[in-house]
């Protein structure tokens, strides 16, 4: 049985998510798209109307009014708005999937920690685009070797970096670094983001470095990474490891590595190109991961028969 959902925030992310749900999800039924502007002033709401989806134009008031229609809310507004609305979702017994950097709930990466977070409350946070792309790889390395330090470099096209990212770029690096540690399992995490203005726009690409003991078996690491790559591809079709784990030792770096080596892995994310252009893999991976999380919650609820607490009982 499908689980009913609403999207709050009909911007680029919310609209892309709507098309993904409509296009490929059997277990999520989109009931409503909610914004704060009239339909004729909102491209996203207009798109929802065109797809035959009901809309709301009064923000959180629309959520309250229609709360009996859905169990899951996708928050695609902003961190500040989510901080204000999260208690309302809680009060209404709705399960919130937060695509903003607010991080009211725990960092969630579907390929890594879905079970832990759905058992812990009714609000989960999707970290950052770079986090969704790289945290699973750190986790994959860490489950076969002890990751002392993990570093990710995310390069995205300037075109796909919206005003939210640009005005608060520190939030991206700090949140992603925290996710590398808390979800990826690294003892220490570091995140770097680079914007590249080349035309035509480049695909989102990421490099993951992990520092591990020099006794690590690289074949184990490669197998573990290959396994998680297919797990991620089940919800992010455009995800691809472009350089499989390879080792840098002391001769390959200009600093002292001690008894460690560096394992380098690279990946690209190509967007589906349905609503957003293919180069915007950074946005695509957020909406794909949010949908992946919702579908896992739906599976969970098919087993447990409850979603978002006991409000329906």
């Amino acid at each position: 049985m499908a689980v009913n959902a609403a999207i709050v925030g009909p911007g680029n992310i919310g609209t892309d998510l709507m098309y993904k749900i409509l296009g490929r999800s059997n277990s999520i039924d989109l009931q409503r798209m909610i914004g704060i502007f009239p339909v004729d002033e909102s491209e996203g709401l207009q798109a929802a109307v065109d797809e035959g989806i009901d809309v709301g134009t009064d923000g959180i008031d629309s959520v309250r009014e229609h709360a009996d229609e859905f169990d899951i809310v996708f928050e695609a507004t902003s961190a500040t708005v989510h901080e204000q609305q999260a208690p309302v979702y809680e009060e209404l017994g709705l399960f919130a999937i937060d695509l903003t950097p607010a991080a009211v709930g725990p960092y969630t990466v579907p390929a890594v920690n879905m079970d832990d977070v759905t058992n812990s409350g009714n609000n989960i946070n999707m970290v950052t685009c770079g986090g969704q792309a790289t945290i699973p790889l750190v986790h994959a390395v860490n489950r076969v070797a002890d990751v002392e330090y993990a570093e990710m470099i995310s390069t995205i096209s300037s075109e796909s970096a919206g005003p939210g990212t640009r005005q608060n770029i520190d939030e991206f690096t700090q949140t992603t670094a925290a996710g590398l540690e808390e979800v990826g399992g690294a003892d220490e995490g570091k995140a770097i983001i680079i914007l590249n203005p080349a035309e035509p726009p480049i695909l989102m690409r990421n490099t993951v470095y992990t520092k591990v003991p020099d006794t690590t078996d690289v074949d184990d690491v490669r197998d573990s990474v290959a396994e998680i790559e297919s797990e991620i591809q089940s919800y992010v079709p455009g995800y691809e490891v472009t350089l499989e784990p390879s080792v840098k030792d002391q001769d390959d770096v200009g600093f002292d590595l001690g008894d460690s080596v560096v394992i380098t892995t690279m990946l690209e994310v190509e967007g589906e190109g349905q609503y957003l252009p293919p180069y915007a893999g950074n946005l695509d991976i957020m909406t794909s991961a949010a949908l992946g999380a919702a579908e896992r919650i739906a599976e969970h609820s098919a087993e447990a028969r409850t979603v978002g607490g006991d409000a329906d009982d």
Partner: protein, 347 residues
């Protein structure tokens, strides 16, 4: 606030851009010795940090031998009239690092972005100006965009609160005319100071700096003995001598600056770290590639048995920007794979 009647402010980055040349391995003690010599020479400003700015210590750019606070704590007691600058690149460092530098006594914070991406720096300028430091904006790889675009981005930084904006020739790819056009336009259109930062990859480090000053730059960068990423920056002691000879008033003492270079810095360098305009660094300037890619590209070239020059040319064609050092391995791996496929096809 000039200490003297100077025409041009000189910023010595031996302890920052120079860090690239030594793989970020200066010790705090070495930094203290160089800072002390620069203070003796009455240098206007010294800049201290990892080559890629505070927060740059990483696998991608190389871990530095010590952390930012250890370096600043070593340098600060050596400085009397010389001002202390730090560098930060949004996306690599954060305001947390700026906060630390303010607490340790930095006077100036320079915030660098790619020449088209100034709008990622608003929050950092706000933080720096709120804390009462001089804020400078650096537009990296300025050769990649026409003068009008550089101006548009410089105006954003001015709006965010910058006290000066620099045209950064991060790849050492500009000809004197490129420098004059960009610096001249900014000097005409902005109400704040304009700076210029050279790399010597085409042998134009000093010449371009003079061109920048003629076009209106009032603050310029250099390093002792021309240390710095790629073939190095404008050679500071040469700059002091040349500017004096050209009739400009500058603060540093010519002979003392030469002494700082030859007696203090040079003994710390090896044949391998001594600045040199060799074939690989020449190609940086020719292909327009960020100068700090040089040493990383050499190491990767050795690993994949490739000529560093062909990796650099390919990177230049792809339009990589500062910070994308991870692309070196990516490009080298693809070239090596193509080679292997070709070799197999020949068998």
């Amino acid at each position: 606030m000039p200490m003297t009647e100077r025409d041009v402010r000189l910023v010595d980055m031996t302890l920052r851009d120079g860090m690239h040349a030594v793989d970020h391995q200066f010790t705090p003690e070495q930094m203290a010795d160089i800072a002390s010599a620069l203070d003796d020479s009455r240098m206007d400003v010294v800049e201290v940090s990892h080559g890629d700015g505070m927060g740059g210590s990483s696998i991608n750019y190389g871990f530095s031998a010590a952390d930012t606070s250890e370096y600043l704590e070593a340098v600060v007691p050596e400085l009397t009239d010389t001002e202390l600058s730090v560098l930060m690149l949004p996306g690599i460092g954060t305001v947390e690092e700026i906060d630390l530098a303010v607490d340790r006594g930095a006077d100036i914070c320079r915030i660098a972005t790619h020449v088209t991406e100034a709008d990622v720096s608003a929050e950092h300028f706000e933080f720096v100006t709120d804390r009462g430091l001089e804020a400078n904006g650096l537009l990296m790889l300025s050769h990649m965009e026409p003068p009008e675009k550089v101006l548009e981005q410089a105006k954003l930084m001015e709006e965010y609160g910058a006290d000066a904006v620099y045209v950064m020739d991060s790849a050492g790819a500009m000809l004197p005319e490129d420098v004059r056009e960009r610096v001249g336009l900014l000097a005409d259109e902005l109400s704040i100071d304009v700076g210029f930062h050279a790399h010597n990859n085409l042998g134009l480090g000093i010449g371009n700096t003079l061109a920048g000053i003629e076009a209106g730059a009032t603050t310029v960068d250099g390093c002792l003995r021309g240390l710095g990423a790629g073939s190095g920056n404008a050679q500071m002691e040469v700059l002091v001598g040349t500017l004096e000879k050209a009739g400009y008033d500058v603060t540093p003492d010519f002979f003392s600056t030469m002494d700082a270079a030859e007696d203090v810095l040079v003994p710390m360098l090896t044949e391998e770290t001594m600045p040199e305009l060799d074939n690989d660094s020449l190609v940086l300037g020719y292909a327009g590639v960020y100068s700090s890619f040089l040493r990383h590209t050499r190491r990767v070239g050795e690993k994949f048995d490739l000529d560093p020059r062909e990796i650099l040319v390919e990177l230049g064609e792809m339009g990589v920007v500062g910070g994308q050092e991870d692309m070196i391995t990516d490009v080298a791996a693809s070239i090596a794979e193509e080679r292997a496929d070709e070799a197999e096809a020949d068998d």
